[in-house]
């Protein structure tokens, strides 16, 4: 007898169900891609404790991604599994925002990417917890405490690097300049997200953006860093228009399943 995952399906029209599938897949891809990026640090971290921290955060995100993929597979109801969704889709079918697929760069790049994502992730999960979709609420309830540890960690590092040495400050400012343009996509709704916001399944992003702004302002002030203003928001990932980086990432991530279809550990 198989172990089962208790999944609560919402009673919605087929149209909303399709939109929810797309949205849950977007959440899943986002967690998976960032988890993979962090896993690339494993064994290469600047010091052992931070190597462990990135591996731990990667694992949390991977677990969260699995919960979303399992739910998405159930919503779709076509017999695809979480592994089919994670391993057998092409880059243009991925729905993660551009931010999370950006390369690790130096440690400062990884930290800035992580902090911008963590601030969004945490405040999104707080909202999803009380949303009408009970399965998303359950996943969010599970993940929000993990996300709180993540954002505390990345915020501490932004402060340490910004208010650290001339070199650490130079590097974190370079990273902020390179990555800030990808922050806006996180809270810019796609047509799918807009449709789900209209029926209450996706929280309003204006309130979340305000919380992110306050969070970032507080951390940057302590880090003695300036918050960039008026930066153009580069979008595309959530609608499948990705940077070149994603293809290389997926080549590695999907290699085993592509080379040996159906392979299991």
């Amino acid at each position: 007898m198989q172990d089962t995952h208790t999944i609560l399906l919402p009673e919605v029209t087929p149209e909303v169900r399709q939109q929810l599938f797309d949205y849950v897949l977007q959440l899943a891809d986002t967690s998976l891609i960032l988890a993979h990026r962090l896993s690339e640090w494993c064994g290469h971290g600047p010091i052992l404790e931070q190597d462990l921290a990135m591996a731990n955060i990667s694992l949390d995100l991977l677990g969260e991604a699995r919960s979303y993929y399992q739910y998405a597979a159930e919503l779709e109801g076509q017999g695809r599994t979480e592994d089919d969704l994670a391993y057998l889709r092409s880059a243009v079918q991925y729905r993660n925002p551009l931010l999370v697929e950006q390369p690790n760069g130096d440690f400062a790049h990884t930290i800035v990417r992580q902090f911008l994502y963590d601030a969004f992730h945490y405040h999104l999960l707080v909202q999803l917890q009380t949303g009408p979709d009970r399965q998303l609420a359950a996943i969010a309830e599970k993940s929000v405490k993990e996300a709180a540890y993540h954002v505390k960690w990345s915020a501490e590092w932004v402060i340490r690097l910004g208010d650290g040495t001339d070199e650490s400050r130079r590097r974190v400012e370079t990273a902020i300049n390179a990555l800030w343009r990808y922050q806006g996509e996180l809270t810019t709704p796609t047509p799918t997200e807009q449709a789900l916001q209209a029926v209450g399944f996706v929280p309003g992003y204006a309130a979340i953006q305000q919380q992110i702004d306050q969070h970032v302002a507080r951390v940057f002030e302590e880090a003695t860093l300036a918050v960039p203003q008026g930066v153009f928001a580069q979008k595309g990932g959530k609608t499948g228009r990705h940077s070149e980086h994603l293809g290389y990432l997926l080549t590695e991530l999907q290699y085993m399943q592509r080379a040996y279809p159906g392979m299991k550990w």
Binding site: M1, D3, T4, L52, R66, A138, K142, W153
Partner: protein, 169 residues
């Protein structure tokens, strides 16, 4: 030929007793009941249902825990078993038993403090944790992330030993 005896239909109390003997694979000094992972046991129509919940989303031990539950119950002749993974309500260290906390400390891992809710306090101070080796409170956080998802790394500034803290969740 003697007919095969009908499969045993154990009581729920008996199942709980058996589950007490299943150890957590990452912290083997704790049973899965000490950890609060088992959320329910039900026997209905001759089938056993055990509901478990993960400590962390990515906890790699969940598969092993499900297998160990299956093996322990199988040894008692219980074959008709369903294991359900449930996410909500989300696991919290508040579900860890008092006995479990004592076993942790004796094992050299500082047990989680009783406070709940502060995990979501994003700008709070680090927790003051007692060293499980020398009981000193003069300790400091080295990293919120340790050897497994559920532990943080601390160091004692009196006995100088590093130690794991089973962090609040």
């Amino acid at each position: 030929m003697t007919p095969t005896p009908p499969p045993t239909i154990p009581t729920e109390d008996r199942i709980w007793q058996l589950l007490e003997e299943v150890a957590d694979p990452e912290v083997p000094v704790l049973s899965i009941l000490d950890l609060g992972i088992v959320r329910g046991v039900r026997v209905a129509d001759g089938e056993v249902h055990v509901t478990i919940t993960p400590t962390y989303s990515g906890c790699p031990a969940m598969g092993v825990i499900a297998t160990e539950i299956r093996l322990r119950l199988l040894a008692e002749g219980i074959t008709r078993l369903h294991i359900h993974n449930q996410l909500s309500p989300a696991w919290t260290t508040a579900w860890m038993t008092a006995a479990g906390k004592q076993k942790l400390e004796a094992y050299g891992i500082a047990p989680p403090k009783d406070v709940t809710g502060h995990v979501l306090n994003l700008f709070g101070q680090d927790e003051a944790i007692r060293c499980p080796h020398c009981q000193s409170a003069n300790t400091r956080l080295v990293s919120q992330f340790g050897s497994t998802a559920c532990k943080a790394l601390y160091q004692c500034d009196d006995c100088l030993e590093p130690f794991d803290y089973f962090k609040c969740h």
